[in-house]
């Protein structure tokens, strides 16, 4: 696998170090399948054995995801509906998670390793539900160093652990009891996070490549929107800008020569500027995101409702970051959909929100598969998942 400073292809490594180590381990297995694919200069290499190896590696790493789903099913209570297996909340939850349409097409058709990363996240959530906070924190720290997109939900973790773990008791009305602050816990949490980060970033610190690593991880030069627009607020913003510029041109308010030519919808990432509305900077998106997550964070701090409250806050953080983030991938919607599945089998209100979220979220993933043969597959799979989720949740909350 190419190391950081190289610019050997357009698909350079832009994930944190743990993911790099993961690919490194995979490459050692890969050489038993096909030597050629490990050649750094073999770009766009694909043989049937490469394909086989990669697909099997995704399936194999999904074992972690399956284990995480198993743990999550143990945590959720759910009403005692009839004895029918297919009507139990646990069964419905496991189907909703394991057969999640978004995960299926992103991991197995579009191809990535999100399965086991979401497995790590779900496992850390399950550990927090089971009051094994240290493990949950550790798992999340590891996860962050696999894929930094999970920074979207880091505030939820931070606030929850601080509020509900470091402050060991509450007053009778649920508000914070300052003198129950436990230094031991804070320090142990900090130690865990520090050790994990040291393990991951340490080597690069020693090699003096930290700056390079960060510039690869947070490429702010990449532009406000990803090549395929994530359906978030900035997509609407861009659209509005375009409409206004067209109107402006027609009504002769704008000078055609002054309009930048870069297109926002072409294949790879480019930078561009807005014509009518003010251009958006990364700082602006950060501020918008922070404002959006503030209400849920406040709720989590002042009125903690245990692990469920944490889960809600996590989902809201994920959604807010999706809405207002800089250079958001449309796959990021999965960050909100998968945890929401856990809530959906609990209450009827959550179930209806989940149905809306999941149906629109999955539909927004359609452009990822664009070839004609894949069209029936994505339609059929989408129909399958949507019909199942609607009918099973409806039956559950009859």
């Amino acid at each position: 696998t190419p190391t950081h400073p190289h610019a050997t292809s357009e698909w350079t490594l832009d994930y944190p170090p743990f993911f790099a180590w993961f690919e490194y381990i995979l490459s050692h297995v890969a050489k038993y399948f096909d030597q050629e694919m490990l050649n750094v200069h073999n770009l766009n290499y694909s043989s049937s054995r490469t394909l086989l190896f990669q697909r099997f590696s995704v399936i194999f790493t999904d074992i972690l995801f399956v284990y995480a789903v198993h743990e999550c099913c143990k945590c959720i209570g759910g009403k005692k509906v009839g004895k029918e297996l297919t009507e139990k909340p646990k069964f419905i939850l496991s189907v909703l998670l394991l057969w999640n349409f978004g995960l299926l097409i992103v991991d197995h058709i579009h191809f990535q390793y999100n399965g086991f990363l979401f497995g790590l996240m779900l496992l850390s959530i399950a550990r927090l539900f089971q009051k094994r906070h240290m493990e949950g924190a550790f798992l999340f720290a590891v996860l962050l160093h696999f894929k930094h997109i999970y920074l979207y939900v880091a505030p939820a973790y931070g606030v929850y652990l601080l509020r509900s773990y470091c402050f060991t008791a509450n007053k009778s009305d649920g508000s914070i009891r300052w003198n129950s602050f436990s230094f031991v816990r804070v320090i142990s949490l900090g130690l865990v996070v520090f050790l994990v980060s040291a393990l991951s970033l340490g080597p690069f610190l020693a090699l003096n490549q930290l700056h390079q690593v960060f510039s690869r991880l947070f490429p702010f030069k990449r532009g406000l929107c990803h090549a395929y627009w994530a359906p978030n607020f900035w997509a609407l913003y861009n659209g509005l800008d375009k409409v206004l510029s067209v109107i402006g041109l027609k009504l002769k308010f704008l000078d055609p020569n002054k309009i930048p030519k870069a297109s926002m919808t072409s294949g790879l990432v480019q930078q561009f500027q807005h014509t009518v509305l003010p251009s958006v900077t990364p700082l602006a998106t950060l501020i918008c995101t922070l404002i959006a997550i503030l209400p849920s964070i406040f709720c989590l701090w002042f009125k903690p409702q245990g692990p469920r409250g944490f889960l809600r806050c996590l989902i809201l953080c994920a959604l807010s970051s999706f809405m207002f983030g800089w250079h958001v991938h449309e796959k990021a919607i999965l960050l909100a959909i998968l945890p929401m599945s856990l809530l959906s089998v609990g209450k009827a209100g959550d179930a209806s929100v989940f149905l809306i979220l999941t149906t629109t979220g999955h539909y927004s993933l359609f452009p990822l598969l664009f070839t004609a043969p894949e069209l029936p597959i994505k339609i059929l799979l989408m129909l399958l998942f949507t019909i199942y989720s609607i009918s099973s949740l409806k039956t559950l909350f009859r």
Partner: protein, 490 residues
């Protein structure tokens, strides 16, 4: 969960599996000059669209019968014509006379695959759904599970969507299934019409014709040949004749036309030269009929739905085992009736369907369909095990062998281990199949015996099929209880 939601989900799963299998390569891809049977189907569209009806089955400068000439009955030709009209609408190059030979492109492949899926969706799948809904004495959940297992049967999926050898098997099997449905539910005229359509689509369906005939004849006898029975017989005869005339209408105008079509359908001059071969074939023919005669006679004398289905199995199996020039995929003609009795004898049916898929292994490997075969077979097996709990249903009564073993025990009092024997046989059979598959995939055959593995597969499958033939015949012949129940119903 509501029944219709579940049924929709099951049908969608069936469709998804079919389409994913179809994303694999097809036979004869990129292999001039003959290409594969995919090219045959495309060529038939070209012929039927560009030439007048009278020339479809004749050798001419425009229609070279050596290059994939039409050798199926007229309904296939009409279907090809219909597809050709659609093809013309999308891209006329696909069916241009002469110039489109060997045409291969992504878009065309997609088109051909879609025609198969649509035909399946319109004819086969509704038949399966309706059949399972009409099953008696089982719960709704079991009916839906039945649909799932039948739709997941690997053999049909792999041949129609993977192999592309004479696709549209689901059409003829679907029509036959409509026939079975109609005849079992006492809509005899519609059932026989559907079955005639099946025969006119692919002449292989003649394997099923004897049971249909015997069952309907039996029904007429039962109603009394001097009253309603005779009326029914006449109506049936008229329906059959009318449907044949309708399908063959353009070819009945001249005697030569009809003969030529028959010559294409039944190429009897393929290798029938030596006298000893002729005698051998004569005996083969006799043997076939002898093996299926008892079941057919019983069906005529005691017509019942259940007997009918089992007779379908045993007749088709006899023809498959003992006929001349049988193609591997003809096992599908046996598999369909076995799918129908899946709810009655889940253990044996699942076993048979696994063997039938295995018997086509050489064909599937030739088309590089190993991965889809393994995956679909495992999915099918897991579905059957989960929904039918087949390993718990191996007692004598469950295997419908109770009356048989009671009769045997009159002579051999120690014959109590029948189900044990059958379980062991199952284990041996499955182990052999798995081992042979592994060997065929990983090892190379020895130099002197290049076809070793294909022959071994053939041999093992044949042994299994002979066992099943005996088993199904036993069920039919020792099925005395059913006769009594039938009298109560009618």
């Amino acid at each position: 969960m509501e029944k219709w939601y579940l049924m929709t989900i099951v049908v969608l799963i069936g469709l998804t599996v079919r389409w994913t299998v179809s994303l694999n390569p097809y036979s004869g891809a990129g292999k001039p000059p003959m290409f594969g049977d995919y090219e045959a189907q495309r060529h038939w569209q070209e012929i039927t669209f560009n030439l007048p009806v009278k020339q479809w089955y004749f050798n001419s400068s425009d229609n070279n019968l050596q290059y994939w000439g039409l050798d199926y009955p007229p309904l296939t030709a009409y279907h090809s014509l219909l597809c050709a009209y659609v093809a013309k609408f999308i891209n006329a190059d696909w069916i241009a006379l002469h110039t489109s030979r060997g045409y291969e492109s992504q878009a065309h492949k997609l088109f051909m695959r879609s025609t198969v899926l649509i035909a399946d969706l319109l004819i086969y799948i509704p038949a399966v759904v309706l059949y399972c809904c009409c099953l008696k004495e089982i719960s709704t959940k079991k009916k839906i599970a039945n649909v799932l297992c039948i739709l997941l049967y690997p053999g049909l999926i792999l041949i129609d969507y993977g192999h592309f050898q004479n696709i549209y098997n689901s059409v003829s099997l679907g029509f036959a299934l409509w026939g079975v449905l109609g005849v079992s539910c006492d809509w005899d005229l519609l059932g026989s019409l559907a079955f005639c359509l099946a025969i006119n689509y692919k002449q292989m369906e003649l394997y099923h014709s004897l049971p249909f005939f015997c069952f309907l004849l039996g029904k007429c006898f039962k109603k009394g040949l001097k009253g309603k029975g005779l009326v029914l017989l006449v109506k049936l005869a008229c329906t059959v004749v009318a449907s044949f005339i309708l399908c063959w209408l353009p070819f009945f105008t001249e005697r030569e036309q009809t003969l030529q079509v028959l010559r294409r359908l039944f190429p009897v001059d393929r290798g029938l030269f030596e006298a000893c071969l002729k005698t051998f074939l004569f005996f083969l023919f006799c043997f076939t009929f002898l093996s299926l005669l008892p079941a057919c006679i019983k069906l005529t004398l005691q017509p019942s739905s259940k007997g009918f289905k089992f007779t379908l199995v045993s007749c088709a199996l006899s023809f498959f085992l003992f006929s001349f020039q049988v193609h591997e995929k003809s096992i599908l003609l046996v598999s369909l009736p076995v799918c129908l009795v899946l709810s009655d004898i889940p253990f044996m049916s699942t076993w048979f369907l696994l063997v039938s898929t295995f018997s086509m292994l050489p064909l599937l490997l030739k088309d590089e369909l190993l991965m889809p075969s393994v995956v679909t077979t495992m999915a099918f097996f897991i579905a059957c095990v989960t929904f039918f709990s087949i390993f718990e249903k191996t007692s004598e009564e469950e295997l419908q062998l109770k009356s048989f073993s009671i009769s045997v025990r009159k002579y051999l009092p120690c014959f109590t281990f029948l189900s044990r024997i059958i379980q062991y046989l199952f284990l041996i059979s499955v182990t052999t199949m798995v081992l042979l598959t592994l060997m065929t995939v990983t090892l190379d055959p020895p130099q002197k015996l290049p076809d070793l593995f294909s022959v071994l597969v053939c041999f093992v499958s044949c042994l299994n099929f002979l066992f099943f033939l005996v088993y199904f015949n036993i069920i039919i012949m020792w099925d005395s209880q059913n006769g009594r129940n039938q009298k109560k119903i009618s």
